[in-house]
């Protein structure tokens, strides 16, 4: 593992609107809410106001990060913004963040369009840039507002996805923190299994018709077949075994997925972190939020080895091991 890189500075923001399953039951008495909750493990979700965007909530997470860790935005040299719900097709939100956060004009600013694998894959980009000495540190902002694409009558998606944002700083450090080697995966055959048709330049639709479509069974099969392979590859690359890992922080897809992966891979229940019940599936934000929560709950301590793995839309995957 490459020592001297730390990812300990993480903050996140959850919108003020909360919807729980008891409220949903009143709106949709025909839905079998208990049955769905049993599978998803999710009780409540967050969503933005109509006039709020990923940029707005991303700013909240950044301001919270700067305040919590007393950071000077002018000293940040890289900015990656991960989202599938940006404010505009162009310009990139990362440039707007630079201005709104009063960051240096010498900064490298990039948008990355990825969902559930977005955090890990962006971390790989940030890590490479810092390792190559192109920059000395990098801010990774994740912000998602899937609620804008979810049809109110879509039982599955409505009960899974939650809006959120996170901000974290990858920086050189004198402590023992480190980031290991990465593994990646991509299979474009799954591109249409999680999609918002008409949301881009191809066959555009009116905004009201742009609905999130998710083929849950197809994604489940992809996940069960590919995640164990990627995990094994990541352990091998880093010269570690399953028992060397103190905590597994997977993309928080659903309880069903996490339970099945634990069983298939052979991960002890107490080592598989989940915060699904109160946070929902926050897409690209799920791993940084889970890392922060695990740290606050004392489940992640300095020196611990944590394996993170993101998987989903595309299909795309990414994994690495962090020494906290």
């Amino acid at each position: 593992m490459n020592t001297g890189l730390s990812l300990r500075k993480i903050s996140y923001y959850l919108p003020t609107n909360i919807e729980n399953n008891d409220q949903l039951k009143l709106i949709h008495p025909e839905w079998d809410i208990e049955q769905v909750q049993k599978k998803t493990g999710i009780y409540q979700r967050y969503f933005v106001n109509d006039d709020e965007t990923s940029l707005d909530i991303g700013l909240f997470a950044c301001k919270s990060l700067f305040k919590e860790y007393d950071l000077n935005p002018k000293e940040i040299e890289g900015l990656l913004f991960v989202s599938q719900t940006p404010d505009y097709a162009l310009p990139p939100s990362s440039c707007i963040f630079q201005e709104k956060l009063c960051m240096s004009n010498d900064i490298l600013a990039l948008d990355i369009n990825l969902g559930c694998s977005g955090f890990v894959n962006s971390l790989a980009v940030a890590y490479s840039l810092v390792q190559s000495k192109a920059i000395n540190n990098c801010l990774i902002i994740c912000a998602e507002t899937y609620s804008k694409f979810i049809n109110q009558n879509d039982r599955t998606n409505k009960m899974i996805f939650s809006d959120a944002s996170s901000a974290c700083l990858l920086e050189k450090s004198k402590n023992t923190s480190s980031i290991g080697d990465f593994s990646f995966g991509c299979d474009g055959r799954g591109a249409r299994e999680l999609i918002v048709e008409g949301s881009g330049a191809r066959d555009p639709l009116e905004p009201s018709q742009q609905n999130l479509f998710m083929n849950g069974p197809a994604i489940l099969l992809f996940t069960l077949s590919q995640v164990p392979i990627l995990l094994k590859k990541t352990l091998n690359k880093n010269g570690l075994s399953l028992n060397d890992i103190d905590l597994f922080v997977f993309h928080q897809a659903s309880k069903l997925v996490l339970d099945l992966l634990s069983e298939k891979i052979g991960i002890r229940k107490d080592k598989m972190y989940s915060n699904l019940y109160k946070k929902g599936n926050t897409i690209s934000c799920s791993i940084p939020i889970a890392l922060k929560d695990a740290f606050l709950e004392n489940k992640l301590k300095p020196g611990n080895k944590v394996l993170i793995i993101g998987f989903g839309v595309g299909y795309s995957l990414g994994a690495t091991i962090i020494r906290w």
């Binding site: 599978k39 069974p217 489940l220 069960l224």
Partner: protein, 80 residues
């Protein structure tokens, strides 16, 4: 490898049906085979076939007993 009886047992368990519901000829149970029900069926199938199902992408669209049998047969996982 699965046979007809085992497949029906898996579907009945997955959809939380009483044993014998499917063979009774009553078709009302089919309304329980929604996307969530299908997930449960895939999970139990994968467990019964020791992880071989997760590699068969066609199963995600196989939403009837006959279509599941067809896909499993094509992959040598169902008695012919």
């Amino acid at each position: 490898m699965l046979d007809e009886n085992k497949l029906i047992e898996i579907i009945e368990e997955s959809l939380e049906l009483k044993k014998g519901t499917i063979s009774s000829g009553d078709k009302d149970w089919y309304s329980l085979w929604d996307s969530l029900g299908h997930l449960s069926i895939l999970v139990k199938l994968d467990q019964a076939l020791e992880g071989k199902c997760s590699k068969i992408t066609e199963l995600s669209k196989a939403t009837s007993i006959d279509s599941i049998k067809k896909v499993l047969k094509a992959n040598d996982l169902f008695e012919k």
